[in-house]
Symmetry: C2
Subunit: 120 residues, 2 copies
């Protein structure tokens, strides 16, 4: 079946969450949002392209930082309302310069930082 981004289920803002996972290691890097056009651009260009809610603009990941995400494979879930992008991440995915945005764990009721920023 031909894939059409219009057949995904978007929220009332026209957005769908996309989880980025490092293809080689399985590490979950981040979650951000896409609209139908950014899904199409991601597939066309092979560079993961989100929709920035704060800037209300397309966000080609790494365009300014160089920390690009090359798309290895895009997957969708059973309800067609969430995406999983397997990627090859250049450098840190997080704007805090950490490899993953999920660097805080809850352990014994406390927040623990489990990942340090990458040194430039």
């Amino acid at each position: 079946m031909t894939f059409d981004p219009a057949t995904l289920v978007y929220d009332d803002r026209g957005l769908i969450p996309c989880i980025a996972q490092e293809a080689a290691t399985g590490e979950v890097l981040m979650m951000a949002w896409m609209n139908a056009e950014s899904v199409a651009r991601t597939l066309e260009t092979g560079r993961v392209t989100y929709w920035s809610r704060s800037r209300a603009a397309f966000w080609v990941k790494g365009e300014s930082s160089g920390h690009v995400q090359a798309l290895i494979e895009l997957r969708l879930d059973c309800d067609r309302d969430c995406l999983l992008a397997l990627v090859e991440q250049q450098g840190p995915a997080c704007h805090t310069n950490r490899r993953s945005c999920f660097y805080t764990a809850v352990r014994n009721g406390a927040e623990v930082e489990i990942m340090a920023p990458v040194e430039d």
Copy 2:
């Protein structure tokens, strides 16, 4: 720092997305939603508890199917608006009886099923 579910960033429905990842393998199993109370219950009980938007009720994963998710560790992202639950999944995570909800890949412009249902 003590963790307080009230300090997370919820959307206008009071919900936050939670990604479930198999702790042992790194496989991304599903994404569902939590409210502050389901975050608290997940941590208290060690059983991942979502908020079902369709039923408007707490959803203790596997309560009816037996396909429970034992919480190994809960993590939060840099913006505090997305959760990552490392879990030990009993049986399939997906209601279609597949291990993961992300069983459809987009390859060469077409949807490809990459995972078969588990046999009971």
